[in-house]
């Protein structure tokens, strides 16, 4: 009995201490929640909310709860700038996650960098994003890390002699994926039969695919977003193209192969994440996401989930003073050292190689997984 009383007092004291010191850590989320990019932005925002809930349920960070200030940047550059300004100057958030598209990061990233506020992109893979400045971070694994491995593996597996290429040329994400593919194909000396393009929002790819069919490639390299990729695959099979696909980062959606069914069979994809990755951190994430949202998570949700945990790891190591300018600076200095083992595997930052040679932001240092699509599912590829 005496023991029980003592414990109770202790718990009370702790709770009181907590009450006195606890402050909310305000974190801004700027993602596309409406418009064409909402299919990514909503998943990303879900990932953040799940992570915040879990962190808060475990008592927050050093007793401080995380509050998310979620704003809709509509997938537009102008709106991203507006939302960034609101979050930084009006809401006075400690840092910002987002925006959804690389295009928007090129526009809004400089705003955060100039205001000396950390901006952390989870879905911005275009080249040059982290050239913006030292306050720019991302855990989006870049295609220049993934694609050489994907192409080399597929070439070896299928004995490829020549490939056709199709990509979206008005989107920073798919265009920069294409640039990387082009470089990789040149380096690996794989001839290209024809290069076809489309623009965002296209649903009819038959003209381009008919041309690809005429050029008779061994495989089709596709730098496309998942939704377009599904249509491209289905329409390719409808036209009688039998060649397998090699996909960029946009292919990383379990839904893609659910939709495209057997059309996507034999596709090679390199990925920073997969729902089948058996690591406990990933399985816990997948289960928690399914429970909370009654839907399958995707790569974008996983990276957002990990990103908040990376930030939380950094925040654990710093003492927040309440002075927003000092706290933002402290976070910027602590973040590069943060490491976690999350849903996307072991994660750490590496300094970005900027084109100008000046100090830039921080990129993800992660190994890609190579997947072969079998029976409509990602299966981890192992060479024979």
């Amino acid at each position: 009995m005496r023991f029980a009383c003592k414990t109770l007092v202790l718990v009370n004291a702790l709770a009181c201490a907590g009450l006195v010191q606890a402050a909310d850590i305000k974190i801004g989320i700027a993602e596309a929640l409406t418009g064409g990019a909402a299919q990514y932005g909503v998943a990303i925002s879900n990932g953040f909310q799940l992570a915040a809930e879990e962190i808060n349920a475990k008592g927050g960070i050093n007793g401080n709860k995380i509050t998310l200030v979620i704003e809709d940047e509509q997938g537009k550059k102008e709106e991203s700038i507006n939302v960034f300004k609101k979050l930084i100057f009006q809401d006075k958030v400690l840092m910002i996650f987002g925006p959804t598209l690389s295009n928007s990061m090129f526009a809004a990233g400089p705003v955060a960098n100039a205001a000396k506020t950390v901006v952390f992109g989870t879905s911005v893979t275009a080249n040059g994003i982290t050239d913006v400045g030292p306050y720019v971070f991302r855990n989006s694994v870049m295609e220049s890390d993934v694609l050489p491995v994907t192409v080399a593996t597929a070439t070896k597996h299928y004995q490829l002699k020549k490939v056709a290429v199709i990509y979206g040329n008005d989107d920073a994400f798919t265009k920069s994926g294409y640039d990387v593919f082009k470089k990789v194909l040149e380096e690996q000396k794989l001839p290209v039969t024809t290069t076809e393009t489309y623009v965002k929002g296209d649903v009819d790819f038959k003209a381009q695919l008919t041309k690809i069919k005429g050029s008779n490639p061994d495989a089709v390299v596709c730098s496309c977003l998942a939704e377009e990729a599904a249509n491209i695959m289905l329409q390719a099979r409808g036209l009688g193209i039998k060649a397998p696909f090699i996909g960029g980062n946009g292919f990383n959606s379990p839904k893609l192969f659910e939709i495209s069914k057997l059309a996507g069979e034999g596709t090679f994809v390199g990925s920073p994440w997969s729902n089948t990755n058996p690591a406990p951190a990933n399985q816990a994430f997948v289960a928690a996401y399914q429970k909370k949202y009654k839907a399958e998570p995707n790569q974008f949700a996983a990276q957002a989930y990990d990103a908040l945990n990376v930030a939380a790891a950094a925040l654990k190591d710093i003492k927040l003073s309440g002075d927003i300018v000092a706290d933002r600076e402290a976070l910027k200095n602590a973040l590069p050292k943060a490491t976690i083992s999350g849903a996307t595997g072991p994660f750490k930052f590496r300094p970005a190689k900027t084109r100008s040679g000046q100090p830039g932001g921080w990129d993800a240092d992660q190994k890609p997984f190579i997947y072969l699509v079998k029976g409509g599912k990602f299966t981890l590829y192992s060479s024979k």
């Binding site: 409406t34 909503v42 008919t210 939704e227 599904a230 289905l234 409808g238």
Partner: protein, 293 residues
């Protein structure tokens, strides 16, 4: 590969034509550029999808249902929005702007109800079957799309040219006031036209949804732009113009993607449009500017 490209163009062109038909009909009769037509097209897709997935409706029933639902929306737009504006003698620009608002509302409503991600018809609901003629892959679906588009266009054409209703519509297109003096129920026919036009737009939506199998809240926007181009090309308010213009745009797009560069599809299609308008400012079938339909 030319044969395959021609088939691609025919499918695309006939859906463009079907979409433009409703668009041009409203312009011809009501003298309103209805910019919610793209959103109505999108509603048609979602309506058919919902009927197929939630009520296990067969495809033909889903198409009819989609016509009914999108037609009703067209009717509501006319009764609730265009009619009060007509009653107040609002200038031409006002109903056009109002329909932009309707478009945004419908798009947001669809996103709220169905979500932002791309939805698709379940595979087993699509007509299977595929013929291979020489080098050309023909899907039963594509044949059905072309057939449905042309049948509907033929029906509408006969309706306008051969029936009393059609004569009344043409009279209204000429002058609503004169038609009213002749005892034609102008308001009633405005409602009928809005319903039919939206129903046609809805069917076009279902057909595009089936062919490309990608239904999103935003899908009406690109086709709205194409539709505007088609009716300008064909002659504002002219039904044959919508048909020929739609097919023309489909062929121009596909052929330029196939033989020039895939980046050039829209550029060539719209460039040709510009050239044709230089020669014929009122479009292929537009007679004088004051005469429509």
């Amino acid at each position: 590969m030319l044969e395959q490209q021609l088939l691609n163009a025919l499918t695309l062109g006939s859906v463009y034509a079907l979409f433009a038909l409703g668009f041009t009909l409203v312009f011809g009769v009501l003298a309103v550029i209805n910019l919610s037509h793209g959103a109505v097209f999108m509603v048609g897709s979602y309506a058919a999808l919902a009927l197929v997935t939630h009520f296990d409706a067969p495809l033909w029933l889903a198409i009819l249902g989609a016509m009914l639902i999108s037609g009703t929306i067209g009717l509501l737009v006319d009764v609730l929005i265009l009619k009060p504006l007509r009653a107040r003698n609002a200038p031409h620009l006002i109903p056009m702007i109002a329909t932009i608002g309707v478009g945004i509302m419908l798009t947001s409503a669809a996103q709220g109800m169905f979500g932002a991600e791309v939805l698709r018809f379940p595979e087993e609901t699509l007509p299977a079957g595929e013929f291979i003629v020489g080098n050309v892959h023909v899907r039963a679906l594509e044949l059905a799309i072309v057939a449905i588009a042309f049948i509907l266009m033929a029906v509408l054409f006969t309706l306008i040219k051969r029936t009393q209703l059609g004569r009344a519509l043409r009279a209204i297109a000429e002058s609503p006031k004169a038609a009213w003096l002749l005892g034609i129920n102008v308001e009633g026919l405005f409602h009928v036209t809005s319903f039919v036009a939206a129903a046609l737009g809805g069917v076009a939506g279902v057909l595009i949804g089936l062919d490309f199998n990608a239904i999103t809240p935003q899908m009406g926007q690109p086709i709205l732009h194409k539709g505007i181009a088609v009716i300008i090309l064909g002659g504002m308010g002219d039904i044959r113009g919508a048909l020929i213009g739609g097919l023309f745009l489909g062929f121009a797009e596909v052929i330029s993607k196939a033989y020039l560069s895939s980046q050039m599809g829209d550029a060539v299609a719209f460039g040709l449009l510009f050239l044709i308008l230089l020669v014929r400012p009122s479009g292929l079938f537009g007679r004088k500017l004051e005469r429509k339909a």
